[in-house]
Amino acid sequence: MAAAARPAGRPRLELRIGQQRTLWAYLFLLVPLLFFALIRILPALSSLYISLHEWNVISPVRPFVGLDNFRTLAADPKFAKAALNTVRYVAVGIPAQIAIGLALALMLQRINRFRGLFRALYFMPFITPIVAASWVWQWMYSQHLGPLNHLLLSVGLPAQPFLRSPGQALYAVVAMIVWQYVGFQTVIFLAGLESIPRVYYEAAEVDGAKGWRLFRNITLPLLNPTMVFSVVYSTIVYLQLFTQVLNMTFQDQGGPLASTLTLVLYVYHLGFQRFRMGEAAAATAVLFAVILVITLLQMRVLSKPVDY
């Protein structure tokens, strides 16, 4: 109608209102896209470029070295250790986080009083600054002065080295991250649970289904989209682990003996402490490929449409 109101005679591209709106939407979407390309895609491409060159951060000369940086990485036991650790973080952290998050959500769903209060309490670690939380946990784990060992000793159990043990340190870090993310996980699951229509449960109950069978055959399948989101999201979080590890092992970052070292921390050390930008970029490229492949696989394997 706006077009019809215009004086006739001037030849112009006639767009319907719907088309105009779409065009405007694209135009507005273009701005963040340009921004995204500038601050995300361009640096990512330049990091791919750097990964094929040798660069000590300050030199104007960056000789092309082909795949040398990748070969150096392959030969570095610390890179292998960091990669293995990262897999461990994912393999231990995500199941723990999802199981606890789901259990809490199921219990919260059953109560009516104080549900909001509980939810807020569980969510609080998620909005606590990571650095501050990491330092508090580091103190709680302290072998000689920490309250956790005090607790263990007072119930007659032996004191544990926690972050000072190559065997325990990684799991001690995972515990902190699970604590941090479990509230977020719970809230996501609560939303997912709310979206499952009650009629399915009622119908199943009429047929005599109870407890575990309801959960196994209704709740779990219908929670699948939520589950996929949770798994994909937390996989990315765990693959990019950095701040918690750096701050909980500040004196010997990723230690002891590289037992908590993650890929991102490894990249940080290479690039910003050792000035080996080429190798750091190569490690980043590897991490990028791993995240991409794992995410695509997860989407494919996990997301099955469920119909009733």
């Binding site: 030199s59 000369v61 103190w139 500040f250």
Partner: protein, 426 residues
């Protein structure tokens, strides 16, 4: 058409340039350092003084956060925007030289013979490719900080002179609760703090092992004597248990535990004096590092920040930049630096000044300077990690110290080989 236009503008710019040069015969040089308040304030004062002495020269002082310093240099210098005189950590000199940012110090203004005569010996680490590339205004060394109250309680009558005495004192000061957890460390163990320097330049040497070959190309500390020194250090943790790694978690935990009265002694640098003075409630003091035997050869670790001339300081800027550098490292500046920043002078003459040597805080650090060496690091972060890991292999994995140290030496050798191999590449 276009060419003529460009030519016209170029002529105009040129004429304007000549015009200003005629009316204002000044050369502007730029000085860069990272931000550290007392240094920034002092350099501002010094620049005012320098400009009065050199009326034709204007010095622009720019500073950046420490974390962004190298990146800033990397982005500015290739674009021709960087400094003429630059402040950098001595360990970065090879990196800067290889990147083509530094020019060797002009030998007429800084004759090498004079440098070696005037400066404390540690600055030899700045000789690279047979040339001096930069010089410090101030240096740092290590000493023993002790808690005098804990000394008194444990009946330790004076700071230890030998490492045996040190161990005895530490054992007496270590306190544990009824379950065997340490509540007060005799010695604030910190392999990733200053202890890896202590091992390299103090313990190895005092036990009779040279940590590196004279040309800095080979790691030589895994000798019999080196293993003995390393074993003595790890025994402090595993056998006499006078301290624990990460007893206080966090950055500088060993220093914090000392300030909190939870460590009887720590080995720390002169740069820690300020923090310890502000933060320690107990009575405390500083003593020179102990030796292997009474009267045995002392040794110490030194480190420093240097001032160098960048490749940008050419043509009319070269002489003023050289003059400013000379002024920055002069005796007068060094005296001011000690008072204002709390860093030790780099001139032998000042080190021998009896008034400075008698200072209760600076004295023990200054007396260490004649025998302090700065390790020639090619990759400090990685080299530190090697020693930290070696200690952990013994403490956590029960590896024999000999094996742990030999493995460490092999790993560090690889880091050195890598560095020298890359340098040969054109």
């Amino acid at each position: 058409m276009k060419k003529a236009w460009v030519l016209g503008i170029a002529t105009a710019v040129l004429l304007a340039g000549v015009g200003t040069a005629g009316s204002q015969p000044r050369v502007t040089i730029t000085y860069w350092q990272y931000f550290f308040e007392s240094k920034v304030k002092l350099v501002d004062q010094l620049i005012a003084q320098f400009e009065t002495q050199n009326p034709g020269v204007k010095v622009v002082h720019e500073h950046f956060p420490y974390d962004a310093y190298n990146q800033k240099v990397a982005s500015a210098v290739p674009a021709g925007q960087g400094p003429d005189v630059i402040n950098l950590f001595y360990g970065w000199v090879p990196l800067y030289v290889d990147s083509g940012y530094l020019q060797p110090l002009p030998t007429d203004a800084f004759p090498p013979v004079q440098i070696e005569r005037d400066y404390v010996p540690m600055i030899k680490a700045s000789r690279f490719d047979g040339k001096y590339w930069a010089l410090p205004t101030a240096v740092r060394s290590l000493a023993l900080f002790y808690n005098a109250d804990l000394f008194r309680t444990a009946a330790v009558v004076r700071p230890p002179v030998t490492w045996d005495e040190f161990q005895g004192a530490a054992e007496r000061m270590t306190a544990r609760d009824d379950r065997g957890r340490i509540t007060v460390q005799g010695f604030g163990i910190a392999p990733s703090g200053q202890d890896h320097h202590l091992l390299r330049e103090v313990l190895f040497r005092q036990w009779g092992a040279s940590p590196y070959s004279a040309d800095n190309r080979r790691v030589t500390y895994a000798s019999t004597a080196g293993v003995e020194a390393f074993r003595w250090y790890t025994d402090l943790i595993t056998k006499s248990k006078i301290g624990a790694i990460d007893f206080f978690p966090g950055a500088g935990g060993y220093r914090n535990s000392f300030m909190a009265g939870r460590a009887g002694m720590i080995v720390d640098g002169s740069f820690a004096i300020g923090a310890i003075r502000r933060g320690t409630r107990a009575a405390w003091g500083i003593a020179p590092l102990p030796g292997k035997t009474v009267g045995g050869a002392p040794s110490n670790f030194g480190s420093y920040w240097v001032h160098g001339l960048t490749t940008k300081a050419q043509g009319p800027r070269r002489d003023p930049a050289t003059a400013f550098l000379k002024f920055l490292v002069s005796e007068g500046t060094q005296r001011l630096w000690l008072d204002a920043v709390g860093e030790l002078p780099a001139y032998k003459r000042l080190v021998e000044d009896p008034r400075l040597a008698a200072d209760p805080s600076f004295g023990p650090f200054i007396s260490a300077l004649p025998h302090a060496r700065a390790t020639f690091f090619v990759d400090e972060a990685a080299q530190r990690q090697v020693i930290v890991d070696a200690v952990n292999e013994v403490v956590l994995n029960n590896k024999p110290p000999k094996q742990a140290l030999e493995e460490a030496a092999a790993k560090e050798q690889k880091i050195l080989d890598d560095f020298w191999a890359k340098r040969r590449r054109p």
